[in-house]
Amino acid sequence: MLKNNNFIERSIMGALSFLKESVFADEYALRKGLLQSLDPRIKAATFLLFIIQAILIKDILILLCLYALCLSLACLSKINLGFFLKRTWIFIPLFSLFIAIPALFSVFTPGETLAVIDLLGFKLIITRQGFFGALLFVTRVITSVSFAVLLSITTKHFELLKALRIFKVPQIFVMILGMCYRYIYLFMEIIENTYTAIKSRVGLEVHYKRGQRIVALNIAFLWYRSYRLNEEVYNAMLSRGYDGEPVILHDFKTSAKDWLWLFFVIILFMGLTYLGAKARV
C-alpha cells in the first residue's frame, strides 16, 4: 500500500472527495426551498442582476444589505448557514492576500493615516482610504461569491447548464460543458479504482520515488483513456444522428411565482441603483 501519509495519495483522494461532495452532490438543490422552486433561467438571470449590483455599488452599507439579503435567501432555501459561510469565505483569504491587504498601506493607497505598524524597523502606514477601500473590496467579493455559490448549490447542475442558453451561450458550448461534467466523474472513478488496485498489489510501503513513478504512469494511462473515450463518444454521437449542430429540448416551464420573483428583483435592482446614486451625491 502507498503509505498513509503519502502526500500525493492524500492530495488526490482529498481532491476527489472534495469534487464529489461539492460538485456532484446535488443535496441542497434537491431540498424544497424558495430558490429551488424557481425556474433556473429566471433564477440565473436575477442572480446575474444581484452580482452586477454588487459590483456597481460603492456604498458599503448598501452592499452589506445585499449580503444580508443573500444570507436570508440561503436560510429560506434551507441551506445550512455554517456550511454556506464556510463555502463562501474560503475564497476570501486568497483575494485579501494579493489585493486587499496591500491596498491597506500608504504605498498603494496614499491618504489619511489610520494606524502605523512597526515591522523590524520599517514603518507601514495604514491609511483610512486604504482601509475602507479594502473593506469595500472584501465585502464586494464576498457578496458576489455568495450569490454565485448560492445559485450553484440551489440549482441542479444540468439545469444550470441549460439555463446558460438564455444568455445566448452557444448550444455546442453548453453541451461540451455538460459532457465535461459527466466525464470528470467517470475519470474520478477510474482514478479511485486505479488507486485501489495499486493498494491491493504493491505492498505496504513504497519508496516515494517509485510512488512518483506510479503516479506518472497513471497520468499517462488516464490521458490515453481520455483520448480513446473522446473518439468513442464522438462515434456514439454520430451514430445517433449528430452532425455538428446539437439540438436540445426546451423543457423549462415558468409559473406565476417565477414572474413575481423577477418583478421583486427588478424593483430591488432599481431601488438599490437609486440609493447608490443618492449616496454618491
Binding site: N235, M237, S239, R240, G241, D243
Partner: protein, 271 residues
C-alpha cells in the same frame, strides 16, 4: 435483393494501417433476420458492428446498405446520413461511451432530436420506452449514478427511441445479472417479432439460440470461420473450443474429478 439490408464482400480493415481487425469478411443480412456474431475478445466483432453502423469503412472490399455503397463521402450527404441513422441504431459495448448527457432523459432523447423528429412524438416514444424498460424512476438522474444494468437499459432505450429498422447490439448482456439479461433478451425477441432486424455480438453462448437464426463465428485471425443455424454451431464443440468460446473445465463430484468442455448452454439444454 429488395430484402437485403447489408452485403459485405471481401471486407478488410485494420487499425492505424497495421493492426488487422477484419480479414476477408463476406456477410449478407436480410430484412427481419436475427444475426449473432460470436467470437473471443479481439476477434473483430465490435469492428464489424461499427462498420455496419457506418462509423468506419473497409480498406479493401465493399459494404452496401439498403442498396447504397457505404463510404466516407456518402455520409457527407446530410440527407443520406440522416436517413441511414434513422434506419440503423447501434448500442455500444460500453454504456459510458453512449451516455454522455447530464441526465438519463437528455441521453434517451438525444438521437431523435438530432434526427429532427417532432418533440411531441419524442415525448410519446419516451413514455412508451420508459414503461417497457421499467426505468421511469431514472429519468432525471445523471447517468453516472446508475448501476451497469440500468446504464445498459438506458443505452438500449437511447437507440430504440429512434425506432431503427436495424438494431445492432455490442455485447448487450455482458456483466449483467440473470434477470436483467432475461429482460433484455425478451425485449430483443419482441423487437424482432415487430419486424426489426437484430444483429448482436456476444460470447454468452446461452443466449445465442434465442437471439439468432444465423450465427457467424469469428476466429482470432479476424475471419469468419463458420456460419449457420445456431443449433449446428452450438453443437460443434471442436469449433467452439478452437475459438475460445468454451473451455476445458475440471471439477470434483464427491470423490471423482470430471474433466470436460464447459459451455453455459449445457445448463439450459434440458429445461
Amino acid at each position: 435483393m429488395a430484402n437485403t439490408i447489408f452485403e459485405l464482400k471481401d471486407v478488410h480493415f485494420s487499425y492505424l494501417g497495421k493492426y488487422p481487425a477484419l480479414r476477408g469478411i463476406d456477410i449478407k443480412i436480410e430484412k427481419g433476420q436475427k444475426i449473432a456474431v460470436i467470437g473471443a475478445n479481439g476477434s473483430g466483432k465490435s469492428t464489424l458492428l461499427h462498420m455496419l453502423d457506418g462509423l468506419i469503412f473497409p480498406e479493401r472490399g465493399s459494404i452496401t446498405a439498403f442498396g447504397s455503397a457505404l463510404n466516407e463521402d456518402i455520409f457527407n450527404d446530410k440527407v443520406f446520413s440522416k436517413d441511414f441513422r434513422k434506419k440503423v441504431g447501434l448500442v455500444f459495448q460500453n454504456p459510458d461511451v453512449q451516455l454522455f448527457c447530464p441526465t438519463v432523459k437528455d441521453d434517451i432523447i438525444f438521437g431523435p432530436l438530432q434526427l429532427g423528429i417532432e418533440e411531441q412524438e419524442i415525448e410519446k416514444r419516451l413514455e412508451r420506452l420508459l414503461a417497457i424498460l421499467n426505468i421511469k424512476d431514472l429519468v432525471n438522474r445523471p447517468p453516472h449514478q446508475l448501476s451497469i444494468g440500468e446504464k445498459r437499459k438506458v443505452a438500449i432505450a437511447s437507440t430504440l427511441i429512434i425506432e431503427p429498422e436495424v438494431l445492432i447490439l455490442d455485447e448487450p448482456t455482458a456483466g449483467l445479472d440473470p434477470l436483467t439479461t432475461r429482460h433484455i433478451i425478451d425485449l430483443l425477441i419482441e423487437e424482432n417479432i415487430s419486424g426489426r432486424t437484430i444483429i448482436t455480438s456476444t460470447h454468452d453462448l446461452h443466449i445465442v439460440e434465442e437471439i439468432s437464426d444465423t450465427v457467424y463465428v469469428f476466429s482470432h485471425n479476424k475471419q469468419i470461420v463458420k456460419s449457420g443455424e445456431p443449433d449446428s454451431i452450438l453443437k460443434d464443440a471442436a469449433l467452439l473450443q478452437a475459438n475460445n468460446l468454451v473451455h476445458i473445465h475440471s471439477h470434483r463430484h464427491k470423490d471423482k474429478i470430471h474433466i470436460h468442455s464447459h459451455i453455459h448452454l449445457d445448463h439450459h439444454a434440458e429445461g
